[in-house]
Symmetry: D2
Subunit: 92 residues, 4 copies
């Protein structure tokens, strides 16, 4: 099942600036076969629902392995059966 | 890896009231081995990260099978390595 | 106009544990005339839409005055015209 | 106090497609003096914190006046005191 998603991951305990961690997270997402659109408050993704959820898990595991102590992800996840959901179809 | 999560699923196209769908979704969550705490804007969950993500996928698939045309999930997902994350530990 | 809301405020740069800040934020909310229900991932609120939004602004200003350097609020805000929205009415 | 925000407004009861409502909401935002960046799952905004919150209230009131029965807004709101928060500064 295809899905679109908007993912923001917040590392807690990494200090006020979390740019380094965000760059690592987007780097991890780019290793997958998703259509990605980064924006100021997250990254929009288009792909298989199962792959998106697996990527979220991988990001938590990989960022903890790199030293992140606490991570909160904010995920908006959308599926629909009347048509294939795409990022392009959600643009104004 | 243990995680806590807060899940809200919004069915679009089901009308103004979505209580029936919310009850079905919480019913699906109760079939899992999670600690659950429903609240006015979602359901807090405690369990294995992989199980929580699998439950989100199952909910989308099951609700579409029941006739939901469009679903948006809002998931807050938290993991930490300094201690085991629990719902009890997040209460004030 | 009456509204219900779910507010979570994340202080960045305050370290891994943010319990002290969360307690201060809930303390600020209790000074208002809202119905409040704290849960593991935020606080549900019922009150006037304008009052809820003013409280969010007050929290950002007050927490910065107390020393918080960076704050991200996650607010779910709901209004409806077919009936008065209440937290009680959203419980399962 | 300057802020950045990411706003998504979901009309419930408007059917499966909510494009018309989303276009109206973005149209309302454009009447303000914000820097706006629409994306597939919301609109990023940069402006005064008080103005952003007032715009959210105005959107709820205006959309209800146009006939929307139930509205849920998802707002991410960020402020910081170490530098002026901007959308440009949040881009990778």
């Amino acid at each position: 099942m295809k899905a679109t998603a908007d993912l923001q991951v917040i590392p807690l305990g990494a200090g006020v600036s979390v740019r380094k961690e965000i760059e690592q997270i987007v780097g991890l997402l780019k290793q997958h076969d998703f259509i990605l659109e980064t924006h100021a408050a997250g990254t929009n993704m288009e792909g298989e629902l199962a792959d998106i959820l697996a990527a979220v898990q991988q990001i938590h595991e990989a960022m903890h392995a790199k030293g992140s102590v606490r991570l909160i992800s904010y995920l908006k996840l959308e599926t629909r059966t009347d048509k294939v959901p795409t990022l392009a179809g959600k643009r104004l």
